[in-house]
């Protein structure tokens, strides 16, 4: 019945790991060919792989794991998906209903443990409600603000039989979030846009979650109005990096021009972003002179952090369509004279060239490694995943994204170990595409067991490891904040990554000389199979630009010279 429900929901891939309490479902999986099961090596990997699959396709990712440890291992992935609004349906086995509460073998209170880290979860206590609940689960995961849901299925419920409820008959009417924005508010926004002297679009992951049509409408609106646009980490690709209005990413490690424009604008239009603390910096000094509009499908995002003048609850795609319609019908007005001055100001900021670096010396600069990776892969059908840390920020800065759903990274939760399994999920969804996981050696090791998965399914995922033998971001903060006392932020006893790759039947490439870099990258691209690329980089490189914690957008640090005593004691308590 579970497999039938998954088929009816259009599921073609399930990521999972079997165990005692899900054996009846695995038995069903064995006896069919419509749904492909990908055996991971750890349940956390299954959830991240499903996230990568979901993020790169726009479809919900599906996970199947067993009770107890299977479910608890999934918790990190669930929390990650909740923070980044990724639609997932996670099925967990549970001990039989008559044993629940008895501390049975591999029993855990899965719905209790996962209640705060799912959008919703269910314990199915009767087979009669199983199929209906599964259809509801897909509905809840994918509608409104997407998120992970979990269905806990006791083993006796899996064994018993009952009538199947088709998707059309499932009860979903009670959860129907609003998608159309309020027309009065939309008109007010258009009026503000017409008059604005220094407008800016600030977009987020919501544009990507809304679907490709939303990205298309966003491009049309931005190009027609000529308003500058910046994006959060999660929103990269919604507006193309080669678009003429693109300012680059904003936030703690965002571009100087993007953050300065956010600080000095007079109209900020937030589309599907949530004023995260990585974006706002010091809240009371955040963009002090601007009127703020906020489009979000989740009413709780509005006014949570930043007071909004024009709140619009609705789906980004629907709202953008209405904005365009209203703006066109009112005569496509924009304050051209003032916005030209605004652009002139922005061009001045761009001249700072905040991403400049110089590749000198014998060690490869991580920025250089990524610039070369960008140059050599930008014409490919390319999907990029990352782990979490300095390499993630450099990847966001130096790689370009011209399409949505091409960039998979752990934004909200910041989960080290996300990227490798996510790249597996992406490659499963796009077997012909080039999938690269930009990683740090420390993050990558957190889920390295998935080498087994990559090898088993011959997935040609490219693991591009910027190896500085340090926890680079931790080291950077210790340098800036903790008197250069590098407490436990370096790794001894790192593996020989080339041998490690070979142990799994994959290819390993070691590169430490800038002169060899291009050839090594080309070798990686030409190899048809999983590659571990161990790129030894400058060990003490810091990630700039940077808004020090506790400071507003216009107090950016641009490089090593400006870091001394940059962070006050108030900022030091922030993360």
């Amino acid at each position: 019945m579970v497999v039938q429900a998954l088929k009816d929901q259009g599921v073609d891939v399930v990521f999972g790991y079997p165990g005692g309490a899900v054996l009846p479902i695995y038995d069903e999986v064995f006896q069919q060919n419509d749904i492909r099961h990908i055996l991971v090596r750890h349940e956390q990997g299954a959830v991240h792989a499903a996230e990568g699959y979901a993020r790169s396709t726009g479809k919900p990712g599906v996970v199947l794991v067993t009770s107890g440890p299977g479910a608890t291992n999934a918790v990190t992935g669930l929390t990650d998906a909740l923070m980044d609004s990724i639609p997932l349906v996670v099925l967990t086995g549970q001990v039989p209903t008559f044993m629940i509460g008895n501390d049975a073998f591999q029993e855990a209170d899965t719905v209790g443990i996962t209640r705060p880290c799912t959008k919703h979860n269910w314990l199915v206590s009767d087979t009669k409600t199983l199929s209906g609940t599964l259809h509801q689960a897909f509905h809840v995961a994918t509608s409104g603000r997407p998120g992970p849901v979990l269905v806990d299925i006791p083993k006796d419920v899996q064994f018993a039989s009952a009538d199947y409820t088709p998707p059309q008959k499932a009860r979903i009417d009670h959860y129907q979030p609003q998608v159309k924005g309020d027309m009065d508010e939309i008109t007010e926004l258009v009026q503000a846009l017409e008059k604005a002297k220094r407008p800016i679009f600030y977009t987020g992951g919501g544009v990507i979650n809304s679907g490709p049509a939303a990205s298309q409408l966003l491009r049309e609106l931005v190009d027609a109005t000529g308003v500058p646009i910046t994006s959060t980490l999660m929103g990269l690709g919604a507006y193309p990096a080669n678009g003429k209005n693109w300012l680059g990413m904003l936030g703690m490690h965002g571009l100087y021009e993007a953050n300065m424009a956010m600080h000095d604008c007079d109209l900020m239009i937030n589309i599907g972003a949530r004023f995260d603390d990585r974006i706002t910096g010091r809240v009371d000094a955040f963009s002090p002179g601007s009127k703020k509009a906020h489009i979000d499908i989740d009413p709780s995002s509005i006014n949570k952090v930043i007071r909004t003048d024009i709140p619009i609850v609705g789906d980004v795609g629907h709202v953008l369509e209405d904005i365009l319609k209203v703006w066109k019908s009112r005569g496509r007005k924009i304050n051209r004279e003032a916005t030209q001055k605004w652009w002139a100001q922005i061009e001045d900021w761009k001249k700072i060239n905040c991403l400049a670096y110089s590749q000198t010396g014998k060690a490869i600069k991580p920025q250089h490694a990524l610039s070369r990776l960008e140059a050599l892969t930008k014409d490919h059908d390319r999907y990029i995943c990352t782990e979490v840390g300095q390499h993630q920020m450099w990847a966001a800065q130096y790689l370009t994204f011209n399409d949505p759903n091409r960039w998979m990274t752990s934004g909200g939760l910041g989960t080290m170990g996300y990227g490798f399994p996510a790249s597996i999920g992406v490659q499963i969804a796009h077997p012909e595409a080039l999938v690269i996981n930009v990683a740090g050696e420390a993050s990558w090791l957190m889920n390295m067991q998935e080498m087994g998965t990559a090898a088993q399914y011959r997935l040609p995922v490219k693991q591009f490891i910027l190896n500085n033998e340090r926890l680079g971001m931790v080291r950077q903060w210790q340098e800036l904040l903790h008197g250069e006392r590098y407490s436990h932020s370096w790794s001894e006893a790192l593996p020989d990554f080339v041998k490690l790759a070979e142990a799994f039947g994959a290819k390993g490439i070691l590169c430490k000389d800038p002169a060899d870099l291009d050839d090594a990258i080309i070798e990686m691209l030409n190899f048809d199979g999983p590659v571990l690329f161990d790129c030894l980089v400058e060990k003490h490189e810091n990630c700039f630009p940077m808004i020090p914690s506790g400071e507003p957008h216009n107090k950016m640090l641009l490089g090593e010279a400006s870091t001394k005593d940059a962070i006050g004691s108030k900022g030091a308590v922030m993360v």
């Binding site: 209790g112 209640r115 919703h120 809840v140 006014n303 949570k304 709140p311 609850v313």
Partner: protein, 186 residues
């Protein structure tokens, strides 16, 4: 949002626009939440309060529609206007939550709480307890030779006042139901 009895998630007449949400004044609000009566729904609601650091001053919950499987949760909470708005929006996100009403801003409402108080005493104190109970319209639901159990219904303030008076007269135990509330009129 729900303050104006409009559909969950709608922006029309957004309550955000009506009230200065960014003031530091701590306010007390009574929220009435209608939920599907399904396992774990109360845990979701109180887990939201504990997980996000909101206060619960009083909580009442019971099924109100047996056939429709609906329960009503009444919560009295305190916070700045911004926090109260967040609480309502966060409650609205919970899937089995149908409606969130902020009775404090939606116009006049009636609030009642029931309490049982055990007062042990002899002689004059016993007579005085009975006399005060009469003034407060509390009724005696159990009596032994050395103690009474009073039942009193009223606003939380009235129950506080009654309990304060009973304390020197031998109040030994008190059980309160928490607030139940309904808006006035139609």
């Amino acid at each position: 949002m729900s303050a104006l009895k409009i559909k969950k998630g709608s922006t029309k007449h957004s309550a955000y626009n009506l009230r200065p949400t960014f003031s530091d004044k701590i306010e007390s609000h009574t929220l009435a939440i209608v939920v599907d009566n399904e396992p774990g729904v109360l845990a979701r609601v109180i887990g939201l309060f504990s997980g996000r650091g909101y206060n619960i001053d009083s909580l009442t919950v019971a099924e109100i529609d047996h056939q429709g499987h609906q329960s009503r949760i009444t919560i009295v909470t305190t916070g700045t206007p911004q926090v109260i708005e967040q609480i309502k929006a966060q409650l609205g996100r919970i899937v089995p939550v149908h409606d969130v009403h902020d009775l404090t801003v939606e116009g006049a409402s009636v609030e009642r709480e029931l309490a049982l108080l055990k007062v042990a005493g002899e002689g004059d104190k016993r007579v005085e307890a009975l006399r005060l109970a009469d003034i407060f319209r509390a009724s005696v639901v159990d009596s032994t030779l050395d103690c009474f159990v009073f039942e009193i219904t009223g606003t939380p303030d009235k129950i506080d006042a009654f309990a304060d008076l009973m304390r020197p007269l031998g109040l030994s135990e008190i059980a309160r139901t928490g607030v139940a509330a309904l808006p006035r009129g139609r």
